[in-house]
Symmetry: C2
Subunit: 434 residues, 2 copies
């Protein structure tokens, strides 16, 4: 008995747009945590976010149709938080805490919409800028990246047959499940999905997240994607990102203030959040420099999220710092989230097992690994190193150095100034995979 | 917009049975061709068909619930050819010929239903017999096999999670597609689906057939499954099977008549069918013996379907025979259909390419290859060597020798008599894979 739903069919006939971002919750959880703090502390700051394609050989403007991109961005701008979403945000507990988002912030959120964007083509790439109050432009980062990545996926799948497509996804499923089977070997693994921004597509991310939920059981602690956390009844995972020290640094009036910026941000963070949200991101201007001048109260925090440095070295460095501060690393948490895949997760897991608590935020290689899945062997599905970074705050250039010079962003003269102030200890150039 | 079809949902709530065989067309095309001849020439013959599980270590009665099996068999007995099906059979052209099925036969078919069955358990196996007019019992072969094979698949999938199941099929799809990609390398390949009887399940066979249609294009000439041929607008493929010489042999009154039986059957066949349906199956009592005494008019036929003998040797033997008869093998057709997979297809293709026309009937390894696809590595999905053979005709034992003694069926004393008459030249014992 094949009953055709006539309404669905009629709707499909009228099909005009398959929106990529369909909810303002389809973003990373840390965006909302940061937003609440930005809204309360820095409502007057203007910040520009800009798209940066570090994979220059992939000429996005030749692949993605400009009209389609505008239509998707415009559609995202029509979105509001729905009542259900607001009630869930207000009523759900996050990281074991009720009322993470305060009523006045929730009231403000109810009117939120994504601000305007500036888009133009240059040299086969898109120049995409979001300029406006930091409280608004910050919210473009994840949807903008998700839209561009998914439009690129769609473009590369455009002329495939029905079964070629079916087999493509079949292969990707089999591939992911092999990873799940390998990860199952680690009974006390703690892992979550961090793959929203670089995902192949929303539906694929959802499949991956639900597959991990079934396949990894307790090892899978949740997802950074707020919408998927709500829909799949998972924990929303995330803390804070580089944009906080970057804006704080950009707003510094002199070199001394700049040197203190990474710690001022954390000072502010601990006014708003506690417990397992007290995770420091040490690499904005180099992990070594950060730890060298870190205040002793930071040793009370739950842990660190080493990001751009080689993970084993960065972890060891942080553990040494805890020991110097008289803390037992076994009580502390390291969150790894930079370009992870099963091999690196295994290596890190074995290296640190029993010496420190660990958690893994698995991103691009979870939600966008179609390598060798293309039946016809065509290119276009390999993930690219696309980011959307804050480039200016109140008209001043924003800079990120990171532990890997390949990840540095900002005006070269400013980068030079920052390098003078923070030093280059421990900076290691590594090729960017994702 | 996720519109739920309420009627479908309500139907699912009332779900009692997921029938395996839902149409009398869900059978092999040669069954209908043979049936028309049996109906016209042997309407008075009684024939018993019996299930034979040559994979004795697989205890089917421990795996498949008897009630479920009875329910499926009973459901199949409720089926009639529908008007649409009858109209299509009458109106479609098969092998380029209109009205393959004559009006009087079609009128008879309109009332057809599957006859009763006898089922009991013994030693962990099912004894399943179909006794009655040959015109009716013959039609049980394919649905009975399809039902048992699919019930076994369902049993082994019973306790799997949603994503484990999804990945299982994903792997099987990827596996099949790799075969498709390899087969694409042969531009003048001619291949069809012969996998109904041993299929993993109906929906899986449908996927495989439609995938081959997309993936192999012109190389894929059709399917032996009449229902899928109708639904997917493919050619229905098939000619005749061992039951014809087996019954003819069983009905022989003396050794001299028995020795002639294999040729009498073909004599009869050519009264009914012509062109590309003139394909001889030479191995019922040994290919060597068959060719040694074959009448010269058989050299006018389109080709042979060597079955139980090693394919290269059997093909060479048949080609020698054509040459002895003064015919050019390049004008003749060899149809290979015994336990094929891509490796064997490639080997046979390369061996005979340019020397004879070839066609491949791909069965079990097309529609039931889940080896290494089980996420949890459990057994139960490997195909088994299950057949449903004619065992008696008008109360006399039926015998098949074939070129491979492992495939011989029948009463041991009768087998000895047949061996005395036909000889054992060229009989080679080979392990049965499927």
């Amino acid at each position: 008995m094949a009953v055709t739903d006539i309404a669905t069919r009629a709707y499909n006939h009228n099909f005009r747009l398959d929106p990529i971002v369909r909810s303002l919750l389809d973003t990373d959880f840390y965006k909302l945590l940061m937003l609440q703090m930005i809204w309360r502390e820095h409502a007057d700051v203007r910040a520009t976010f800009s798209l940066i394609n570090r994979s220059q050989t992939v000429r996005l403007a030749d692949i993605i149709d400009e009209e389609e991109l505008r239509t998707q961005l415009d559609y995202a701008r029509t979105l509001r938080f729905t009542n259900k979403e607001l009630i869930w945000l207000a009523g759900n507990s996050f990281y074991g805490k009720q009322q993470m988002f305060k009523p006045d912030f929730m009231a403000w959120l109810a009117d939120f919409r994504l601000p305007e964007y500036e888009l133009r083509k240059a040299d086969g790439q898109y120049e995409l800028h979001f300029d406006g109050p930091w409280t608004h432009t910050t919210m473009w980062e994840i949807p903008a990246l998700a839209i561009i990545n998914e439009l690129r996926s769609r473009a590369s799948l455009q002329n495939k047959g029905r079964f070629a497509l079916d087999v493509l996804y079949a292969r990707a499923k089999a591939k992911l499940w092999e990873k799940v089977e390998r990860l199952r070997a680690f009974p006390d693994l703690v892992i979550s999905d961090f793959g929203t921004r670089r995902r192949h597509g929303f539906l694929w991310q959802r499949w991956c997240v639900e597959a991990l939920k079934e396949g990894l059981g307790e090892r899978f602690i949740g997802t950074s994607n707020v919408l998927l956390a709500m829909d799949a009844d998972l924990e929303a995972i995330g803390t804070n990102a580089h944009e906080l020290p970057m804006v704080e640094a950009a707003l510094s009036d002199n070199d001394a203030e700049l040197a203190e910026a990474p710690y001022r941000v954390l000072e502010e963070w601990r006014q708003h959040y506690g417990g397992n949200l007290l995770i420091a991101l040490p690499d904005a201007y180099g992990t070594a420099a950060f730890l060298e001048h870190a205040p002793s109260w930071l040793a009370n925090w739950t842990g660190f999220r080493p990001d751009s440095a080689p993970p084993v070295e960065a972890g060891e460095q942080i553990m040494r710092w805890w020991e110097e501060q008289g803390r037992d690393p076994k009580q502390k948490l390291l969150i790894f989230s930079d370009g992870l895949d099963v091999d690196t997760i295994e290596r890190i897991y074995h290296h640190f097992h029993g010496r420190v608590r660990m958690s893994f935020g698995w991103g691009t290689n979870l939600t966008n690994d179609f390598r060798d899945c293309e039946p016809d062997g065509e290119a276009g599905l390999e993930p690219i190193s696309l980011v959307c970074k804050v480039t200016e705050a109140n008209g001043r250039p924003a800079v990120k150095l990171s532990d890997n010079p390949a990840k540095a962003t900002g005006d070269p003269q400013e980068i030079a100034r920052y390098l003078r102030i923070f030093g280059e200890t421990g900076h290691v150039l590594s090729p960017l995979s994702v």
